[in-house]
């Protein structure tokens, strides 16, 4: 319980930041716990999700993605380093109830290292009893449950809650007029973490 499911992403701290204030650039979901990543559209939350999946699958483990709105892009996932054969993709046809039930089934199946639930922009209200039910299920099977959405779903049942925000965009092109998106800089803020004060992490760069 509480064991990190994947190595922490490469930490890129600002040069002028004091060592005592340094935080890891990215936090990863822990096994047997619920982790939530919230943020607005284009804030980097999906990139964060794929990076977590890539870390898990890269170690030879098996992961599942419950995709409420069928927005998952296999090409992005392959580019993020995910071995797609180790990823179970469940498409739920925009039905949040079905997505929650599918996630509930998957977290009760021991052996998955990570079960991700992507709720997109429309996050339903979840009764606290169901949140606790999910919490105890992931504890029992030692699965990491990662929930991604516009806002938080499970309240105090989540052991870690992060909020992503976009800080900048870089463009590229051969001439003065950009022809392609180069990379995006995002920042992660810890909203909830046991034994840790809420605060910002150093920025992360995501290359298009």
């Amino acid at each position: 319980m509480g064991e990190s499911v994947a190595p922490i992403f490469s930490s890129r701290t600002s040069a002028g930041e004091a060592p005592a204030q340094r935080r890891p650039a990215a936090r990863t979901p822990s096994r047997g716990e619920i982790t939530e990543i919230v943020g607005r559209l284009s804030s980097g939350r999906t990139s964060y999700l794929l990076a977590c999946l890539a870390d898990v699958v890269g170690q030879g483990e098996t992961a599942a993605l419950v995709d409420a709105d069928e927005t998952f892009d296999p090409r992005s996932a392959a580019q993020a380093g995910i071995d797609l054969r180790r990823l179970l993709w469940v498409r739920c046809g925009s039905d949040r109830g079905v997505a929650l039930r599918a996630a509930d089934m998957l977290v009760r199946c021991p052996g998955f290292a990570l079960v991700a639930l992507d709720l997109g922009e429309r996050v339903p209200r979840l009764p606290p009893t169901l949140s606790f039910r999910l919490k105890f299920a992931v504890r029992r099977t030692d699965v990491a449950l990662l929930i991604v959405g516009r806002r938080r779903l499970t309240g105090s049942s989540a052991a870690l809650a992060l909020e992503t925000s976009r800080e900048g965009i870089e463009w590229t092109g051969p001439g003065p007029v950009p022809t392609r998106l180069a990379r995006v800089r995002t920042r992660t803020r810890v909203l909830r973490s046991p034994g840790e004060e809420p605060g910002d992490s150093p920025p992360l760069w995501w290359t298009a």
Binding site: S42, T71, D73, Q79, L106, R166, W171, W205, W206, T207
Partner: protein
């Protein structure tokens, strides 16, 4: 050293019924078959009916004057308990009940017998690769070479008895230098395993009655007229005299009495599908009740597979319906499975989604057996879902979201940005060596950054775009703050699905970073994806 083993299950029709209902083993059991009374009296030909006691009064075939056809239930087999009470095949059911009031009767169902016969053969096949089907309840096993694998002949015999017991059959085993000697020994033995020492076949067979050889009626009658009652007496007759009086049949009988076989060994090979079936005396119209019957059938089938160290990788369920038709379903198994519960879950979920159109009167399940690789995973191998758990959860998810919405995505070799296909989820069991991993773009671009993901809009949503020149300035009334492009792509121009488009990455006034695309064939703009 014994060369052959004979696995014998006595009173096989009764044993087949007991295999389906193990509680009957302690009861006096009679297996009944229904005969046409007139046919029995010789006024008509034999009745083809094999229906059970529930069909004793044949309602379907009424006689011309409207009265039911006269039927009589005959005992065709009885177990040892019933025989101890004086019940024997050939009696009428009424006569048998008069001798044994506690007698339990069951109809003769050919499928039970056939399934049990195959089960016994497969159990023997788990011990030796060379077996011969000797008939119902009789299997010959070539034991040459098994002593190095299993041990001495008694150990081989015990292994055969154990395998037969694993599929629900109580067998006796005889081991001898010939099949006939092994069979006669097994038939006369009192213990489960009897071994005839090499060269002692004639002595071992000497006391056996002549009937154990199953000679032709004419030959048996002739020998009986001569006063020959046992195999020892037959073996003592001079061969020349037998040849002169009885011809080749007499010589063959003499060889058999000496324990010599001249018939070739005909090896049995298992069929591609192993079937287990159950006929029902009543109609089932509820899935809950049907699940109970399916569980019983699957338990027998899985016991057969497990005894041969096999697993099922494909399953077919065939339900006989009261309407006269059949309801057949193929149930896909993501992994080879031999456990009853996950298979039952899969079958029930499939039947929930595709229920039969009429009440069920017969259940048959057949499995394609394959040999699985036993052994645990490597010490450094990460844990993965157990096959039985995975099969079960995949079936539940398929019932929830549909089988088409479940699986592993696989990229398609195409310039279309959203080209992929769905494959059945089957993660590799071991991590791929680094040089064997599927080719793909590097996950970590130079500088250690991570890849930016997109969220697809499926299907791509049509948007209204205002442009200055070719650069978009407004998307669905949202101002474009910055944009980059165009990025042109086209493909399949040789086919009817030709496409050509130019893509723009745009930042909108609400903060969304999107990819919009203009279809160069129609001029329409679409919201293709959102960077996130």
């Amino acid at each position: 050293m014994s060369r052959y083993a004979c696995v014998l299950v006595e009173y096989f029709d009764a044993a087949a019924v007991e295999r389906g209902e193990p509680a009957l083993r302690a009861e006096p059991l009679g297996v009944v078959n229904v005969h046409n009374l007139e046919a029995r009296l010789g006024r008509r030909g034999p009745s083809p009916s094999t229906a059970g006691s529930a069909h004793i009064v044949d309602r379907a075939r009424a006689s011309r004057d409207g009265a039911p056809a006269a039927k009589i239930a005959m005992i065709v087999e009885a177990n040892a308990e019933a025989r101890a009470h004086g019940v024997h095949p050939g009696m009428t059911e009424a006569e048998a009940r008069a001798r044994c009031p506690m007698l339990v009767t069951r109809p003769l169902i050919e499928e039970y017998v056939l399934s049990a016969r195959h089960a016994l053969l497969e159990a023997a096949l788990a011990v030796s690769p060379r077996i011969e089907d000797g008939g119902a309840g009789l299997v010959y096993v070539d034991t040459v070479g098994l002593e190095r694998l299993i041990g001495d002949p008694p150990a081989i015999g015990r292994r055969l008895v154990h395998q037969a017991r694993a599929v629900g059959l109580a067998a006796r085993v005889g081991l001898a230098a010939s099949r006939t000697a092994a069979r006669v020994t097994a038939a006369r033995a009192s213990g489960p395993v009897t071994v005839v020492p090499e060269g002692r076949e004639r002595t071992a067979l000497a006391g056996a009655p002549l009937a154990t050889l199953a000679l032709s009626p004419d030959l048996a009658e002739t020998l009986a007229r001569w006063g020959v009652r046992t195999l020892g007496e037959l073996a003592a007759l001079p061969r020349a005299g037998l040849s002169a009086r009885l011809g080749p049949a007499g010589l063959r009988a003499h060889d058999l009495a000496l324990g010599l076989d001249h018939d070739p060994f005909r090896p049995w090979t298992p069929p591609p599908f192993w079937e287990e079936a159950q006929g029902l005396e009543w109609e089932i119209d509820s899935l809950g009740v049907l699940a109970g019957v399916l569980e019983t059938v699957l338990e027998r089938l899985c016991a057969r597979l497990a005894s041969a160290s096999l697993a099922a990788d494909a399953l077919e369920v065939r339900l006989g319906l009261a309407s006269g038709g059949h309801h057949a379903r193929s149930v896909a198994l993501a992994y080879p499975v031999v456990e009853v519960k996950p298979i039952l879950t899969l079958v029930v979920l499939d039947l929930e989604a595709h229920p039969p159109g009429a009440p069920v009167t017969r259940v048959a399940v057949s499995a394609h057996p394959i040999r699985t690789q036993p052994g645990q995973g490597g010490l450094w191998q990460p844990p993965a879902p157990a096959p039985r758990d995975l099969v079960s959860v995949l079936a539940r998810l398929a019932a929830l979201v549909g089988a088409d919405n479940l699986g592993s995505p696989a990229l398609v070799d195409s310039h279309r940005s959203d080209a992929f296909t769905m494959l059945a989820f089957s993660p590799p069991s071991e991590p791929e060596p680094f040089d064997r991993r599927p080719p793909g773009p590097s996950p970590r671009p130079e500088g250690g950054d991570h890849r930016l993901a997109v969220r697809r809009v499926r299907p791509a949503r049509r948007v209204e775009v205002e442009a200055v020149g070719e650069r978009p300035t407004r998307v669905d009334a949202r101002r474009v703050l910055a944009c980059a492009g165009p990025w042109r792509a086209s493909g399949e121009w040789w086919d009817v699905d030709a496409w050509a488009r130019e893509e723009w990455d745009v930042v909108l006034s609400d903060g969304a970073l999107c990819r919009v695309a203009r279809d160069r064939l129609t001029g329409h703009w679409y919201l293709d994806a959102l960077y996130d």
